[in-house]
Subunit: 333 residues, 2 copies
């Protein structure tokens, strides 16, 4: 059995390029007692992976040059000598960026036997959806009737945050980077959608969209989005800081907003979070989200690239705003 | 009766100058039934007043050009037709920047009859001391054994925050702007004191002083202090944002730190606060602080200018680091 896999070939400087990645092949041995062979069906690309490509201390260790990349994946067991993972089981793992792998079951989870496309466990029912829900519930404690602002609102996390915000009874203002994305969010019932690339001054656009001020900002972008949000927050507003994608490819550090003194004047609370620390709440989340999906209250949009060799392009596309909803790579039918 | 008073003559651009202030005189009428006449003994100058000199919406209304400035003051009733404020009463008010005023008692508080110099009610027992205690207790929830970093640590708020930090059982690291201030804080038992003007790279100096990382940062300065703190915070660290004095005189907005993504990586909590919103806790604070002062556990340093005409210079001195502890103007014996 040969597995195809994508290694980190070199560390990106600034925006990653295809040359930072290398597709290789490797022989897999036969499985032994207690092992099973997984064929990956889907893999996830996510903005946070950019951080792991840098050689620095962070909340997860950096990728190493010459090693196979990692990331969320959904696969199917195709050979097994492990009683808990029979052939045909669908499993989720962090062993994406490869076509096959052998496991003894550590850090592999069997998907529940539900009537939902397994790819959603990489998106709306997985880490991105759980991130949106955690930020709104456990970090910002969004309340009914409040005004929520979400940046990168057409992305895997943002699009779910917008929709959960509506389900929680908030007025939701979204920022996106294309008219097509804006139109789609409006069709989902999002109250105000700003195309930050064409709106002129974002600060003014946000003030117009939220004349009453913002109670909660779900921060995915940083830079000018953070600056505009600070200027438009209400007193005692809360900012859940999930990501700052505008800065991930900086080669020269970009200065932060010049209006941080708003934190004092408005008595703001700003809190960063990493979803993995909140994983104890995952069963509660899946139960809720399962109901929302079943009742059609949440739309789970996906942008799909096909074939492992397309994984680098899918990843690069995240930084060019090419995805609507969850960016996925389909590895096999 | 003539009162001397200082008006805002023009709005400062950048660092205020003496020309922004004007000393004038005004006749006061005779007091009527229900009124009393106060002779101010002490007045406070505080960095937050710089914000009120700008014409912008904030948590308190801006000063108006041609009107008498306001600020904390301690005075003595010298004539009275009000039963609750007999002659000889010591009172605290927001009617500083003037030698005398007539009141009907609104927003005037009589000082308790305790054996403490009344000037301390503008400092360690007043708004600055209460600010330090509120930030550490109610905002950052500093715990015994944690590492606390305080900037502007020789100032009215900072010097109290350092000392309360020690009393709460924290390891305390302080940043100041002169060797003389550093020496004084060391004599008070502060664990590590950095002179940010001579230490070279503040980030490195802080890393050396807090190799274990910082649990709580009491933020008075902004700019490079915030950047260095972000780089040296522990995971789940808390930042109580009290002030950003480095920015108060900016004519061109100064960019914020480029390392705000540390908020995510370290899952930091940052919270701005205004002490007046926490005033319900003032009795608890005065009881605690009264004990600390009586037992010699807190030293209440003061820098004193003499005479109302020196009030602008005292205020300007705040931005030149001329004060050790509370900056006060003594108006009368």
């Amino acid at each position: 059995m040969i597995t195809q896999q994508i290694q980190l070939h070199s560390r990106p400087e600034g925006l990653p390029t295809p040359n930072n990645f290398q597709l290789t092949e490797q022989n897999l041995p036969s499985i032994q007692t207690g092992e099973f062979l997984v064929k990956n069906l889907w893999m996830s690309v996510d903005p946070y992976m950019r951080g792991r490509m840098m050689d620095r201390k962070s909340y997860i260790p950096p990728f190493q040059i010459g090693e196979v990349l990692e990331g969320g994946a959904i696969g199917e067991v195709i050979e097994s000598q492990h009683p808990d993972f029979p052939v045909g089981s669908k499993v989720t793992s962090m062993l994406g960026w490869r076509s096959h792998f052998i496991s003894q079951g550590q850090e592999i989870t069997r998907l529940p036997d539900v009537d939902i496309d397994p790819s959603h466990f990489l998106g709306v029912l997985g880490m991105p959806g759980m991130t949106a829900w955690t930020g709104l519930n456990h970090i910002a404690a969004l309340q009914k009737g409040e005004t929520l602002f979400v940046s990168a609102a057409a992305g895997a996390v943002g699009s779910v945050a917008c929709q959960i915000g509506k389900l929680m009874g908030a007025r939701v203002i979204a920022s996106v980077g294309s008219d097509e994305k804006a139109e789609h969010l409006r069709a989902l019932g999002i109250d105000e959608v700003i195309n930050y690339k064409t709106c002129g001054d974002l600060n003014t656009a946000l003030a117009t969209a939220a004349p009453e001020g913002i109670d909660v900002y779900f921060e995915n972008v940083g830079a000018e989005h953070l600056s505009a949000a600070l200027n438009n927050m209400k007193d005692h507003g809360r900012i859940a800081v999930c990501g700052m994608i505008a800065q991930y490819n900086d080669t020269i550090p970009t200065p932060g907003p010049s209006n941080l003194a708003q934190i004092i004047a408005k008595k703001l609370k700003i809190e960063g979070f990493i979803v993995f620390e909140h994983w104890a709440h995952y069963p509660e989340f899946t139960s809720l989200m399962g109901q929302w999906l079943a009742s059609g209250n949440i739309e789970a949009e996906q942008t799909i690239y096909h074939g492992l060799e397309q994984a680098p392009n899918a990843f690069l596309g995240l930084f060019e705003g090419k995805n609507k909803g969850k960016m996925l790579v389909k590895l096999s039918d």
